[in-house]
Each structure stands twice: as structure tokens, then as C-alpha cells.
């Protein structure tokens, strides 16, 4: 029973959000509409110049496209690794499946900075990945992983994979195994059953997981900074540079606003997908 007398309990948090959080979000968005007048300051007049610059300048454009590309690669990678894994965990309750599940969970909660440290060594020119590839005779010269999307996307897949799998799992669990038995009972092979039955039914989870991973990736900061490096000029790294190195608050805020808008669009899409799958159920 909903009751009016509980309502007032929301007031402290609502007031805190109305006086701190909302103004904080509004303030940087407002600053994006003012011209920079030197390090750490903006002028009083209103302008769209920052947006023109951010969307017109090759450096910022490249950064945005690279961020989007990184997001797409990471979504694809975590889906390729994660979909079979989620299927495996949902269908087999062996000790090993539970252990992998626990590992996913622990991995998602361990410090991001420290995982970044690990990837710096793993992806190094003398690191274990290059070592194994050379040992197998697949490559002669070490592959350069640092400062490009190749190495960064591997680390980003590692970062986002648990979220992909944990989003897929409830959807996988909801698919009755009887459907797969029925499909194989009618003569379909395993691959056909997965393609015709499991994948279509898991689609809401695939979409939700993909959108989540995409939003996480385009706005990620720590891993791109540690593994990708500044030369990649990803939007998140440019925001940091403008805010903390050149103190161009106007441009930094504009980049942040653009990124926030992008993330907001993805989040809204995800909630639409989520809402629709709930209706379907």
C-alpha cells in the first residue's frame, strides 16, 4: 500500500540533489556556452563557438570518432567472448562454471587502476603476449600494442566483459532449455539451434549489454589513459587535458557536454530496449 506519510523522507536527498548535483551538471553545460578568456576563466557573453570548434576541429573530430570506434570494437569483442560464456554459465551448473562466474564478479570489482598496471606489462613489447606470439612463430617482430586502438581495445574488453556477461545472464536463464531440446528434437544441430532459437530470444540482453558496454567505453578514462596514452586523443582524454593541463574550461566543458549527450542517448536507447523486453515478457 502506497502511503503519503512516507513521502517526506525523500526530501533530504532531493534537496541535496537540487542544490548540489543539478547545479553541478548545469554549471558545466552552461560554461560550454561561454567563450574562454584565458586559463580557468570564461567570459559572460553567450556563444555557440565552442561547439563549432569542437565539432569542426580535426583534433576533436578524430577524438570523437576514435572513441566511437573503440566503443564499437569493445562491444564486438566483449560480445564474442561473453555470449558463449553466458550461455555456458546459464546451461551448466558445474563447479567450474560457478568458479568462472565468481571470477567475473571479482574481476568487475577489482581496482581499475591496478588492472591498467597489469595491461601495461601484458601488452609491452617484451610482455607475455608478444612472448607467446613469438614462441608460436606467429610473429617475427613484436606487435606494438601501446598507443593504439588494438592494445587499448583488448584492455577495454577485459574491463567491460563482466558487465556484458552479467547483463546477458538473466536473459539466458529466462530462455527455457525445453526450447533448445525441442529444436534439437526436430533435427536441428547445435549451431542451428543457437542461431535460430537462443540468439533471437537473447536479443534484448545482447542489445542492453552492448549499449551498456558502449556507454562505459566511450566515457572510460583510467584504462585509456594508462594503456592508450595521450597520443590517441580520445574524447575522454581530451577533456582531461583541457580541464587539467591547458585549463581551457570552455572547450573542456563543451567536450564533456557532447560526451554526456552521447551517453544519454545510449542510456535512453537502453531503457527503451529494456522497457520493450519487459513488455514482451
Amino acid at each position: 500500500m502506497r502511503n503519503r506519510r512516507w513521502n517526506w523522507l525523500v526530501i533530504p536527498m532531493l534537496v541535496a540533489f537540487a542544490t548540489i548535483y543539478v547545479p553541478a551538471i548545469v554549471s558545466f553545460v552552461l560554461i560550454s556556452f561561454h567563450p574562454s578568456t584565458g586559463p580557468g576563466s570564461v567570459g559572460p557573453e553567450w556563444t555557440l563557438g565552442n561547439y563549432a570548434k569542437v565539432l569542426g576541429d580535426a583534433v576533436y573530430q578524430t577524438g570523437l570518432w576514435r572513441s566511437v570506434a573503440l566503443g564499437a570494437i569493445t562491444v564486438a569483442g566483449s560480445l564474442i567472448l561473453g555470449f558463449p560464456l553466458a550461455y555456458y554459465i546459464s546451461r551448466y551448473s558445474s563447479r567450474f562454471a560457478i568458479a568462472v562466474f565468481t571470477l567475473l564478479y571479482v574481476s568487475s570489482l577489482t581496482s581499475i587502476v591496478i588492472r591498467g598496471l597489469g595491461w601495461i606489462t601484458l601488452l609491452g613489447t617484451t610482455g607475455p603476449i608478444n612472448g607467446i606470439l613469438q614462441m608460436l612463430g606467429l610473429i617475427q617482430e613484436p606487435v606494438i600494442f601501446y598507443g593504439n586502438l588494438l592494445g587499448l581495445s583488448i584492455a577495454m574488453i577485459h574491463y567491460t566483459l563482466p558487465f556484458m556477461v552479467l547483463t546477458l545472464l538473466p536473459v539466458m536463464h529466462a530462455i527455457p532449455t525445453g526450447l533448445e531440446e525441442a529444436s534439437s528434437g526436430m533435427g536441428a544441430g547445435f549451431v542451428t539451434t543457437v542461431r535460430r532459437v537462443v540468439v533471437p530470444l537473447a536479443m534484448p540482453g545482447v542489445l542492453a549489454g552492448s549499449l551498456l558496454v558502449f556507454a562505459m567505453t566511450i566515457s572510460a578514462f583510467v584504462i585509456p589513459r594508462l594503456v592508450g596514452g595521450l597520443t590517441l586523443r580520445l574524447t575522454a582524454l581530451l577533456i582531461d587535458q583541457e580541464m587539467r593541463t591547458t585549463y581551457n574550461y570552455a572547450i573542456g566543458s563543451t567536450l564533456a557536454s557532447v560526451l554526456l549527450l552521447l551517453v544519454a542517448v545510449v542510456v535512453v536507447m537502453a531503457s527503451v530496449v529494456g522497457g520493450r523486453s519487459r513488455v514482451a515478457r
Partner: protein, 297 residues
């Protein structure tokens, strides 16, 4: 299982594939998937294991593979890492405590009240989880600069500034935990307490709170980890002086990468992992609530 009615057509379709071959293919699915899971497990563990290996190498600068083994780096961890750890824990505890005070009552109101515009209020109060941590950092930095310009009060570069930002950022974890728990909390429990002679406050502390506390505790736990490990917001709000532990590692990685960071990283990972495993066991943490964690690191 096929019923007699359905087995006839099924048999005629399946008849084209020799039964033995079909069975063999099905039997291969499990080993292939298990192998895949093993591969992913190695992938997941690799960075954590490598951090440990790097921490016990003999050379000061990180070379792989190390030329020899040494625990030396654990003995020379500079004091500012300890200070950073203390600041991180203090900040996380203070933020989680403040968030609890705001978010638990708000969760009760959202779950049980008849708020006008409930969906909108709920979305607003949860939204800090959706906003990338980096952007929260930019937002609070700009907000604090604005406050300094308008009132002369400096919040930037202070514990209070960090505290406020972290509290807002982690509060949705508690709110979500409380609302989710209360949505499957039978109203009759509280009614029973009223009928037996307890007032609303008494009922909350005797009945409601003890029953929802495991859920609140898991919310607290996530909130603590998010606050502790938050670099993207913190980096904008500390410009000089003391830093948090992850931020100290982050800065040193940039300027002075050595085995010391790997030693610190190993310690933090061991402590974190132990905490997480204990929490999974004791609080019966629902792993799905981990998917609420987003924002980007």
C-alpha cells in the same frame, strides 16, 4: 521430451541425420564451451597475476620477464601510499555514511510513498550512476569554481569537496538496493508490528531495518568499492597535496612506473578480493547488482 503425438514428425525430420552423428556433435558442445570459458578465465585473471609477478621482480624498473625474484619492493613502499590508503578509506567511509543517511530514507519514500512524479524523482536520484565518473568530475570542478567565484568559498582541493562529490556519486547504489529490497518486502510485516503495539519509528528499527539490512549492506559494499577506486572524479578535485591511493598509483604510473606500484597493487588486489569473496558469502551478494555499476573508470 517428445510426446507420442509429436515424436512421429520429429523422427521423420531427424531421420535424415544419423542419430549417432547427432549425438556426437551434441557431446562436443560441452567441452568446446568449457574450453572457451577456460580461455576467458585466463584472460580475466591475466592482468591480476601479472601485477603480482611484476611486484616480485628484482629490477627496479619493470622488465618482463624479471631477471630474478625479490620481495624488496614491498619493504620500500613510500609512506604516501599509506597516507593515500588512509585518505581513500576515510573518504569512502564518510561518503558511504553520508549517502546512507540520504538514500535509505529516500528509498523508503520511493518504494512506499505516493510521491507525485515518482518516476521522475527516481530517475533523477539514480542518474549519477548513469553519468560517467569523468563527467561528474568535470561537473563538480566547474561547480566548485563557480562557488568560489560567487562566494569566495574554496571547496576545490579539500576533503569536503571530495566528500560531497563522492557522496552524490555513490548514493544511487544505496537507493537502488533499498528500493529493490522493499519492492519484495511484504507490507504485512510492518502492519503486524503496528498491530502488536509498535510505533512507526520502533517498527523501522525493530523490523524493517534488520530485514532489509543485508540488501543495504550490499549497497554499502558496492558504494564503498566505487568510492575507493574512483579516479576519474577525484582527479579533477585534487590538484595538489594529498591524494587517494588509486590516484597515487595513477600518477606514478605516468611519471615513475616501478615495481613499487605493482607491490601496492598486489596488496590492494588481495585485500579487495578477500573482501569481495567474504561479502559474496556473508551478504549473499546478488551478482546481478554488479551490473548496476557503470559510469566508466
Amino acid at each position: 521430451m517428445a510426446t507420442p503425438a509429436s515424436s512421429a514428425p520429429a523422427a521423420s525430420v531427424a531421420g535424415h541425420v544419423p542419430a549417432a552423428r547427432r549425438r556426437r556433435r551434441l557431446d562436443m558442445v560441452r567441452p568446446i564451451l568449457t574450453g572457451w570459458a577456460l580461455l576467458v578465465a585466463v584472460f580475466l585473471l591475466a592482468p591480476l597475476i601479472i601485477v603480482f609477478i611484476d611486484s616480485i621482480g628484482v629490477e627496479q624498473y619493470v622488465v618482463f620477464p624479471p631477471g630474478g625474484w625479490s620481495l624488496h619492493w614491498y619493504q620500500v613502499i613510500p609512506k604516501y601510499y599509506l597516507d593515500g590508503a588512509i585518505l581513500s578509506v576515510g573518504l569512502a567511509v564518510a561518503s558511504v555514511a553520508a549517502a546512507t543517511i540520504f538514500a535509505v530514507p529516500a528509498g523508503m519514500a520511493i518504494a512506499r510513498g505516493s510521491l507525485p512524479g515518482r518516476a521522475a524523482i527516481d530517475a533523477l536520484l539514480r542518474s549519477p550512476v548513469q553519468i560517467p565518473l569523468l563527467i561528474s568530475g568535470v561537473a563538480f570542478l566547474q561547480f566548485y569554481v563557480l562557488i568560489r567565484t560567487l562566494t569566495g568559498v574554496t571547496v576545490t582541493d579539500s576533503f569536503v569537496g571530495l566528500w560531497i562529490a563522492h557522496t552524490i556519486v555513490v548514493s544511487p547504489y544505496l537507493l537502488t538496493a533499498v528500493v529493490a529490497r522493499l519492492s519484495r518486502y511484504p507490507a504485512s510485516l510492518d502492519e503486524a508490528a503496528y498491530g502488536l503495539g509498535a510505533g512507526p519509528v520502533r517498527t523501522f528499527f525493530d523490523i524493517t531495518l534488520p530485514i532489509i539490512s543485508p540488501a543495504v549492506a550490499s549497497g554499502l559494499f558496492f558504494a564503498f568499492l566505487v568510492s575507493f577506486d574512483n579516479v576519474p572524479t577525484t582527479v579533477f578535485l585534487i590538484q595538489s597535496g594529498k591524494t587517494t591511493l588509486p590516484l597515487a598509483i595513477f600518477y606514478d604510473t605516468d611519471q615513475d612506473l616501478s615495481r613499487i606500484q605493482y607491490a601496492v597493487g598486489t596488496i590492494v588486489t588481495v585485500v579487495f578480493t578477500t573482501l569481495i569473496l567474504v561479502a559474496m558469502r556473508w551478504l549473499r551478494l546478488l551478482p546481478s547488482s554488479a551490473s548496476a555499476r557503470r559510469g566508466g573508470g
